[in-house]
């Protein structure tokens, strides 16, 4: 998805045609998903949401199998790699500062009919599953044609 997002960014976000919003939908079957979502936001509190977002996806195989304590240590290590304040980052994770926002996203997704990830809403229309850039291109162009 990172590659597709990169293509969407270049063609549509950077040109002002698309606004792209990430909503967290950690699945219960993925035990580290919720804390990963909070880790991205804790990095965001230090201005590095997207850097941590990309890192978490790129290093997914590294942190996914870890236990709950080790995974926090791994995320703090990533925060250090990104030159963030590791103490503030760990405190953010330990306090669950962004847990409520993550849960709000899940609630919003459930209300929208999201059942799995990734899912997308394009101007409110729900699309389930991962698709190549070309599919998004068609859907975006169709929406742009309908824009007055």
């Amino acid at each position: 998805m990172l590659q597709t997002l990169s293509q969407i960014k270049e063609a549509y976000i950077d040109t002002g045609l698309v606004r792209y919003v990430v909503k967290d939908f950690p699945l219960l079957s993925h035990p580290n998903a919720a804390i990963a979502a909070e880790a991205a936001r804790c990095a965001g509190a230090q201005g590095a949401y997207w850097a941590m977002h990309d890192l978490l996806f790129n290093l997914q195989k590294q942190w996914s199998p870890q236990g709950s304590e080790q995974v926090v240590d791994a995320f703090v290590g990533y925060a250090e790699d990104l030159k963030l304040d590791p103490l503030a980052f760990r405190q953010c994770l330990d306090s669950g500062e962004f847990g409520e926002l993550v849960r709000l996203d899940v609630w919003e997704g459930e209300q929208a009919g999201v059942q799995g990830t990734p899912s997308f809403r394009i101007n409110g229309q729900l699309i389930r599953g991962a698709y190549p850039f070309e599919t998004f291109q068609e859907l975006i162009e169709a929406e742009l044609e309908n824009t007055p």
């Binding site: 960014k9 976000i13 698309v18 990430v22 909503k23 967290d24 998903a33 999201v114 975006i140 824009t147």
Partner: protein, 64 residues
């Protein structure tokens, strides 16, 4: 503490005006309350692109 307040504000805003009142936020006549810069910053950290863009894509995703 400021973050906690911000999170509550977000919840209230998502519930609309009634939720705002129910959450006990101050009423100043009929003026619609505006979120603090902190709330906006928290909400916007996961967003790329212009708020005026004609197309909005929301991605529901799971890092794992």
């Amino acid at each position: 503490m400021a973050i906690d307040k911000g999170v509550t504000n977000v919840s209230a805003l998502r519930g609309g005006w009634a939720a705002w009142q129910q959450a006990g936020y101050p009423l100043e006549g009929t003026r619609v309350p505006t979120p603090s810069p902190l709330v906006v910053a928290i909400e916007e950290m996961t967003v790329l692109g212009s708020p005026d863009a004609p197309v909005t894509i929301e991605e529901f995703s799971d890092f794992q």
